[in-house]
């Protein structure tokens, strides 16, 4: 980390500064019943200004702090996805946290700081800076998961998440020290200069990389580091669960991609073997465990684990340009998973206890449009055309085959067939039962929330029918 002080490039860090400013303002907003809208609006403004600002960095390759902050196209695309996801989280939180009047300012402030953490993770190639971002993210998330601190499940979830999360961070840090010990650097570009002849350094190096992957595997909830996910999602406020299921995965996968792209130049086998193992086990465990779930959020948690497995196939194809498949899949995943969690948020609001899949009964008869959006999200997650989820999966499979991992792709499609059962069970429950009154009231007002869900569902279909422009965007984002 040999940077000189004059290289402080404020421009390279402007989006994060804006977020932090808003977060600081939010901390001073006094909680009172009328402030619900104010808090949400401030958070919304912060994110909205970010989403306007971030695209300006496209193609400029701005760097700052001696190369510690890198605004390449890849990071810009990932950040845009995260901001879109968090914008949806803000809409959900506004809808969901109606009865919770305490600490709303802190809630939104923590959401914003976690975005800062993720942005830092993505926009750097230095392991220490990445670790810094990861910790900012984790600290915010520990508190957010424990937001319902008076509820037993909430407490259980946050303790579980905190203990395992801290452990994973420690392993990540240990990995960095091995890495540093072997190469004398913390930057990921150390691979290029690394001396492969050194007998002692090579094993150190591999141990370091493995530990780094373990730490990241925890963040993206990939098997075998997934144990916390279903419990944490279920105990956390549903809006936070939605957040957990999407945004940290983007950041984690982005970092794995950055590690991978340097690693494959040097010695691809080790990295790819670990990733193949994680991908295959995630798909198998995630999909088959989801088959047995009756709780909606738990089902979505396991489905999220499986989805990460699919995304990791694209990482196997890093030398063949698999990064574009990763970005494409992530873009669709943001929409479809946030959408599905949106429905869960809607139902949780009406029911104090855990939402079961059977609670969706009669939804199609009473609220055809909401049922339609949920059907689109499920079809997309299952990878059925003409939704974006199908094209994303197709593109991932294409890259998997191109990289010579046909067996992984075959496991992927076998598990996809198994996944049809639980995704379609939601559709079955919504559309088949006629008489039973669902838990949603008969008349719900047409508000921003429903409109957002419908817009997301339509966007998924549009991206499935004309994926061309998003595809080109993803391709140009990884052409370094």
């Amino acid at each position: 980390m040999d940077f000189t002080i004059p290289d402080v490039n404020f421009i390279s860090f402007a989006p994060e500064v804006i977020l932090l400013l808003f977060a600081a303002i939010l901390l001073f907003v006094q909680s009172s019943p009328g402030r619900r809208g104010v808090c949400a609006l401030l958070a919304f403004l912060a994110l909205f200004s970010n989403i306007l600002l971030v695209p300006f960095y496209w193609g400029r390759g701005i760097e700052g702090f001696g190369g510690l902050v890198i605004r390449d196209n890849f990071s810009i695309m990932c950040q845009t996805m995260i901001i879109v996801a968090v914008l949806l989280v803000v809409v959900y939180s506004y809808q969901y946290l109606v009865f919770e009047e305490k600490n709303l300012g802190e809630y939104y402030a923590l959401v914003l700081t976690s975005v800062v953490g993720m942005n830092i993770m993505i926009a750097s190639k230095d392991l220490m800076v990445i670790f810094l971002g990861m910790e900012i993210l984790s600290m915010s998330l520990y508190v957010l998961v424990a937001f319902f601190k008076t509820v037993r499940e909430g407490m259980e979830a946050s303790i579980k998440y905190f203990l395992l999360g801290a452990f994973a961070s420690a392993l990540f840090l240990l990995g960095i020290s091995f890495f540093y010990g072997a190469s004398g650097k913390t930057g990921l570009d150390a691979f290029v200069m690394f001396d492969t002849t050194s007998k002692l350094a090579v094993p150190f190096f591999f141990v370091g990389i493995s530990l780094i992957l373990v730490g990241l595997g925890f963040k993206i909830a990939s098997v075998p580091f997934h144990m916390w996910a279903p419990d944490a999602y279920e105990g956390a406020p549903t809006s936070v669960a939605a957040f957990l299921s999407v945004a940290p995965k983007i950041a984690g996968l982005a970092v794995i991609f950055r590690v991978g792209i340097e690693m494959v130049k040097w010695s691809p086998e080790v990295m790819l073997t670990i990733i193949a193992f994680m991908a295959v086990t995630s798909m198998i465990v995630g999909n088959f465990a989801a088959l047995r779930q009756s709780g909606l959020v738990r089902m979505l948690a396991y489905s999220g684990i499986a989805q990460v497995g699919y995304m990791m196939i694209s990482l196997l194809a890093i030398p063949q340009g698999g990064g574009s498949a990763l970005l494409f899949y992530l873009s669709i995943y943001v929409l479809m998973n946030m959408g599905a969690f949106g429905i869960a948020v809607l139902l949780t609001k009406e029911k104090d206890k855990r939402v079961q899949i059977d609670d969706l009964k009669g939804l199609a008869a009473q609220h055809p449009i909401i049922a339609f959006t949920m059907a689109v999200f499920m079809l997309s997650l299952a990878g059925i055309p003409p939704t974006g989820g199908f094209f994303a999966k197709f593109y991932i499979f294409k890259h998997g085959i191109e990289a010579g991992y046909l067996w992984v792709v075959i496991i992927a499609i076998i598990t996809t067939v198994a996944s049809l059962y639980y995704y379609f069970r939601v559709i079955v429950v919504m559309y088949m039962s006629e008489e039973e009154a669902g838990i949603l009231p008969k008349h719900i007002e047409i508000n921003l929330f429903n409109f957002v869900l419908l817009a997301v569902a339509l966007l998924i279909i549009v991206l499935g029918v004309v994926p061309g422009s998003l595809l080109e965007l993803a391709q140009s984002a990884v052409s370094f």
Binding site: A365, P368, P386, F394, F397, K398, V409, L420, M432, E434
Partner: protein, 509 residues
């Protein structure tokens, strides 16, 4: 306006979809039904247009449309028809009209969704029959699963949940393996041909090594065989048929099963000719098992719908035998029999549905003596049963004779075994007719039941007319498929193994 320059096929495919949007405007029953019917009729008329333009002697695809869709992956929006798909388009739209008519005023729940689903189904199936880009084909192939799934799931009978999920998982399991094969083919096109792409016309030019052909053939073939359905993959069909509403069964038997045969001819034949020859004995053996096994199963049923479902398995088995006999007679028989089977089995399901509405049972043991009480229905039933058995002068005869001729040309004993369908079919069909229409009323109820109403007659009369038309003037259809059949065979005949197997003198042009 010049009709040649219009994007006829695009209009055909998307007209039902546009109609379904119009259906959404109003929830009133009258509006929903009328708009659906008008859309279906318009769509039927547009599917007849290609008959005028179609040139019998052109072997290339006709009415082609090609627009780049996803450039960087070599995917285009490429449509076209030949003598193989020409007849399947009007069959599809015709049966859709029939389905809308027989559902008229009969749908109790989610009526709007019901008609929209039928129109989407129609659009999806028409898309399957005209797509020449394999990626596009796959999209249509998958898209039409969802409406069918929902039709069984929402409007089916008691055990519909099980049947719908079974249908979905069975068909998806086959098609995802096809997806892998499609991606591999695109890479092969990159390696051996004109770059990464999904255009069928490019793929046909490839010369694929045999071991790869064999794997790819299996991946494609299993997807199609599940759809047909062929013998070991048939178990979803009886469940789906029994639980689906009448109109759902009509579409399922009349059109969806044809997609399997269509796929075999459209993809397996030109792309993997060596593998087709290599696997012919296996496929024919499975087809024959299906013919005989399906017939015996049909014989053992007391549920009318199950009987018709198993008879479908038997008939479709014979079509597979015919098209894999590797001669023009068999292929032509297969194509025409697809249309015949769509008409007669579709009509059988309509009649069974009509009986169910009147008797509230499909159990043959609770029927009997209906001929005197519903004479018009009984007459229509008899005509359809005879057509299904293959009585000379009706459509079934033409198809079965051609198929069996093809099979005999291949190997005499294949033809002989296939011919058992004539006897077995007659046995279970006539026996069924006797039990339902003659004998004594077994249910014990002497409720008055109504004969066919005008609406039902309107549905049945065109079907009967078509049955006789195909039976008496088969040349009208067969002439149009000559060139395409020869072209399909030319892919196979490049291969010296065929010559050795079929014998030079017996190679039929």
């Amino acid at each position: 306006m010049d009709i040649q320059s219009m994007p006829i096929l695009t209009i055909i495919v998307f007209l039902p979809f546009v109609g379904s949007i119009v259906v959404l405007f109003n929830r009133e029953r009258v509006w929903v039904q009328t708009v659906s019917l008008v859309t279906a009729l318009l769509s039927f008329i547009t599917t007849l247009v290609p008959f005028w333009i179609f040139k019998n002697d052109v072997s290339a695809f006709q009415l082609e449309e090609s627009v780049p869709w996803i450039m960087s992956l070599g995917i285009s929006y490429h449509l076209g028809i030949d003598g193989l798909s020409l007849f399947l388009l009007p069959l599809t739209s015709f049966l859709t009209v029939a389905c809308i008519l027989i559902s008229w005023n009969h749908i109790k729940i989610k009526e709007q969704l019901y008609f929209i689903m039928f129109l989407w189904l129609e659009a999806g199936v028409l898309g399957v029959f005209v797509a020449l880009d394999v990626f596009l084909f796959y999209i249509f192939w998958e898209v039409m699963l969802i409406p069918m799934f929902l039709i069984i799931l929402i409007w089916g009978s008691a055990n519909r949940r099980y049947a719908a999920i079974k249908f979905l998982i069975y068909t998806m399991a086959g098609s995802v393996f096809m997806l892998i094969a499609i991606i591999v083919m695109a890479f092969l096109n990159q390696k051996l041909g004109s770059g990464f792409g999904f255009d069928l016309l490019d793929w046909i030019k490839l010369d694929i090594p045999f071991n790869l052909q064999a794997w790819l053939f299996v991946a494609f073939f299993v997807a199609f065989a599940i759809k047909v359905p062929m013998f070991p993959f048939h178990t979803w069909l009886p469940d789906a048929h029994v639980e689906a509403p009448t109109a759902g069964s009509v579409i399922l038997a009349g059109i969806l099963l044809k997609m399997g045969i269509y796929g075999m001819l459209r993809f397996c034949y030109p792309l993997f000719p060596d593998a087709v020859v290599y696997f012919t004995p296996t496929v024919i053996a499975l087809g024959l098992v299906g013919v005989i096994y399906g017939a015996f199963l049909a014989f053992a049923q007391t549920d009318l719908k199950k009987l018709v479902a198993y008879s479908s398995i038997s008939h479709m088995g014979l079509i597979v035998v015919g098209i894999f006999a590797l001669n023009a007679t068999g292929i032509k028989g297969g194509i025409i029999q697809m249309v015949n089977h769509g008409l007669s089995t579709g009509a059988l399901f309509i009649l069974v549905g009509a009986l169910y509405e009147r008797k509230h049972t499909r159990d043959m043991d609770k029927m009997g003596g209906l001929a005197t009480r519903v004479p018009v229905l009984a007459t229509f039933f008899l005509i359809i049963v005879l057509s299904s058995i293959g009585l000379p002068g009706m459509n079934g005869f033409v198809g079965e004779v051609l198929l069996l001729l093809g099979a005999f040309k291949f190997k005499w004993w294949v033809g002989a075994l296939g011919a058992t369908t004539l006897i077995l079919g007659a046995v279970y069909m006539l026996w069924m007719y006797q039990r339902v229409m003659f004998e004594k009323e077994r249910s014990g109820s002497d409720l008055v039941i109504n004969d066919f109403c005008l609406r039902e007659k309107i549905v049945m009369v065109p079907i009967v007319l078509l049955i006789f038309f195909i039976g008496l003037f088969p040349a009208f259809f067969l002439d149009k498929m000559d060139t395409s059949t020869d072209k399909l065979l030319s892919y196979i005949n490049k291969n010296p193994a065929v010559v050795a197997m079929v014998g030079t003198d017996k190679r039929i042009k």
